[in-house]
């Protein structure tokens, strides 16, 4: 922010929102409260599992299965074994890479695109705004799962396709929230001052509006991540998401649905993994320091 392009006049002429008082990271963490910290811990655990999991495992789950099919929880197999006798713990940790990784990529793509378009819509003229809003509203006329099914029918199922599909589905939501925030900021005096000073659209977008909507957009990012995890898991559960031999948590539930009749761990564990991830993100968002739990919207 302290680059040379910002003129000294900016600071005197446009005293924006007062800068938040700097607090130590520890105090900031304490602001989460117990449930927030719990969510943060679970989230961190899955992120680490997704990033480091494959290196931490002593043996690969892709190895040949044993005859020990649908084994219960034991010392040898902490989470039991799947329908081919493979170790469930290894499979869940390998699946984390797909579930967390693909969803994270799609979320970043969706929120990034949505925010960029929203800034563009707010900062440039009325026509751009109207056109963008109308186009993206049209996309929301298709239910999310239905759109995903249509995309899979048309283009088949691959990891890049899934990322793009999930991103397209959740761009309009991110756009709508970012736009309503950006339009409010755009009407404030310091933006008018910047315009009068002769700053370009890009400058207004990036230096005046963006810093003031980053906070809410990050909370929205978390929510969107939850939706995308649920969507991708559902697709995989239908057999239309991540394709074998790769398996995310949704595929693991699908593959081991046969264990349901015996109440086996192999079908419950990946389902609970999804639940723990999404509930953890919800807890973190609801307990973000300094903000009341906000009403979560549709989609």
């Amino acid at each position: 922010m302290e680059s040379s392009t910002s003129s000294p006049a900016l600071n005197t002429a446009a005293p924006a929102l007062p800068p938040a008082p700097r607090r130590s990271p520890l105090r900031w963490l304490a602001g989460f409260g117990f449930t927030g910290l719990l969510g943060l811990a679970v989230l961190l655990f899955w992120l680490l599992a997704a990033a480091l999991g494959p290196w931490l495992l002593s043996h690969s789950s892709a190895g040949a299965g044993t005859s020990n099919v649908f084994a219960p929880i034991s010392a040898a197999h902490w989470l039991g074994t799947d329908y081919l006798g493979r170790d469930m713990l290894a499979l869940v940790i390998e699946g984390a890479r797909y579930t967390v990784g693909v969803a994270l990529l799609a979320t970043l793509l969706a929120s990034g695109t949505g925010t960029t378009l929203a800034l563009l819509a707010a900062a440039s003229g009325r026509w751009t705004d109207a056109t963008l809003s109308r186009c993206l509203d049209t996309l929301t006329a298709i239910p999310s799962k239905m759109f995903a099914l249509i995309m899979v029918a048309g283009f088949g199922s691959s990891v890049p396709m899934l990322v793009v599909t999930a991103a397209i589905i959740y761009v309009p939501g991110a756009f709508r929230i970012a736009r309503s925030l950006a339009v409010n900021i755009n009407a404030l005096d310091y933006v008018t001052v910047a315009r009068t000073r002769g700053e370009g659209t890009l400058y207004i977008m990036l230096r005046e509006i963006l810093p003031n909507i980053v906070g809410p957009m990050l909370a929205d990012l978390g929510l969107r991540f939850v939706y995308i995890v649920l969507l991708l898991a559902s697709l995989s559960f239908l057999g239309l998401g991540i394709q074998p031999p790769a398996a995310d948590w949704g595929s693991l539930v699908r593959e081991n649905i046969g264990a349901l009749a015996m109440g086996g761990a192999s079908v419950i564990v990946p389902a609970l993994a999804i639940a723990s991830l999404t509930i953890a993100v919800n807890l973190v968002i609801d307990n973000l320091p300094g903000r009341a739990a906000r009403e979560r919207g549709a989609r």
Partner: protein, 318 residues
């Protein structure tokens, strides 16, 4: 007074029709134009150019895309939905055999979930902060933030495997008695209800709380009205619009939930038909089912808007 409402309603409906048209363009381009040449895909890499050309003519692919879209749209409007690419049966027959099952499932679910959700939502808004509210709200968050198939899996585990009250799968074809029908419907309806009730209850609670925090309710309390009267006679009439909106929007979640539920319980509905169509890449079938789902979704969303407009006293007494 009615002029304003009628104008707004006409606008909403026109917008819905326009959206449906736009949706049809999106559906057609994703399924029939963007993925490339269907004839080439069907014949494989080493097809002769003559065979390719013949198949293209047979499939009507030599016609430019906008014209194909117009033909498809006209056919759909006239009820000619084409033939399924895998079974060669007319799509309209396939859909007609499955649609009533899905509608029945949706109707039964709505019948159960709407009263339960409204009661829970209003009660937890009135007793805000109590243990009841906290228990209901926490379970609702838990249900909303897990995938539908987890709810379904757990329900099967509890009711079909542990308690053995209900069968895990449903086959609607062999229903003779009321008891059998209850058995076949119980699991899918139970799971769908869980999901819908959680959504609807949260929105209802928010709508009622919104009213209870308004200044006029404080006035009602100050004049000494009983809590019962405050809620039923003063807050609820003003919350009807937002609640009706919440009901219609929540019912639109049925469309997503039904895809999972019909698949997991092997229920012969239209969503199962669509999922099978997608895995076999049966485009005419996918297109028709997609349009049915999007149409239903738009109807529900528009109904939500209309309820909001009609129930708004400020517009009614203009």
């Amino acid at each position: 007074m009615n002029q304003v409402i009628l104008k707004l309603l006409a606008q909403r409906i026109a917008l819905a029709l326009l959206s449906l048209l736009a949706v049809s363009v999106i559906v057609f381009s994703i399924t029939a134009v963007l993925p490339g040449d269907a004839a080439e895909e069907q014949l494989g890499q080493d097809a002769t150019p003559e065979a390719l050309a013949a198949l293209r003519t047979q499939m009507g692919l030599d016609v430019p895309a906008p014209k194909r879209y117009a033909q498809w749209l006209l056919g759909m409007a006239k009820g000619d939905l084409g033939r399924s690419a895998t079974t060669q049966m007319p799509v309209s027959e396939l859909v007609a055999s499955r649609l009533p099952n899905s509608l029945l499932l949706a109707a039964v679910t709505a019948l159960f979930s709407v009263p339960i959700a409204l009661a829970l939502g209003i009660a937890s808004a009135v007793w805000r902060g109590s243990w009841f509210d906290r228990a209901v709200s926490t379970s609702a968050v838990a249900v909303v933030s897990v995938p539908e198939f987890l709810v379904a899996t757990l329900a099967v585990l509890v009711f079909a495997v542990k308690l053995r009250w209900l069968p895990a799968l449903s086959f609607v074809s062999d229903i003779d008695s009321l008891g059998q029908m209850l058995q076949a419907f119980a699991m899918p309806v139970l799971v769908l209800c869980c999901v819908i009730v959680a959504q609807m209850m949260r929105m209802t609670r928010a709508a009622v709380i919104d009213q209870l925090e308004a200044p006029y309710i404080e006035m009602v309390r100050l004049k000494g009205a009983s809590p019962m009267r405050t809620v039923l006679a003063h807050a609820l009439p003003n919350a009807v619009g937002p609640i009706a909106n919440a009901v219609a929007l929540s019912l639109s979640y049925l469309l997503g939930g039904v895809i999972i539920v019909e698949t997991i319980f092997n229920y012969p509905g239209i969503a199962k038909l669509m999922v099978d169509g997608v895995s076999q890449r049966d485009m005419p079938l996918v297109q028709t089912c997609a349009m049915i789902f999007c149409g239903a979704y738009l109807i529900l969303v528009t109904a939500a808007d209309v309820c909001g407009i009609v129930a708004n006293p400020r517009l009614r007494h203009r």
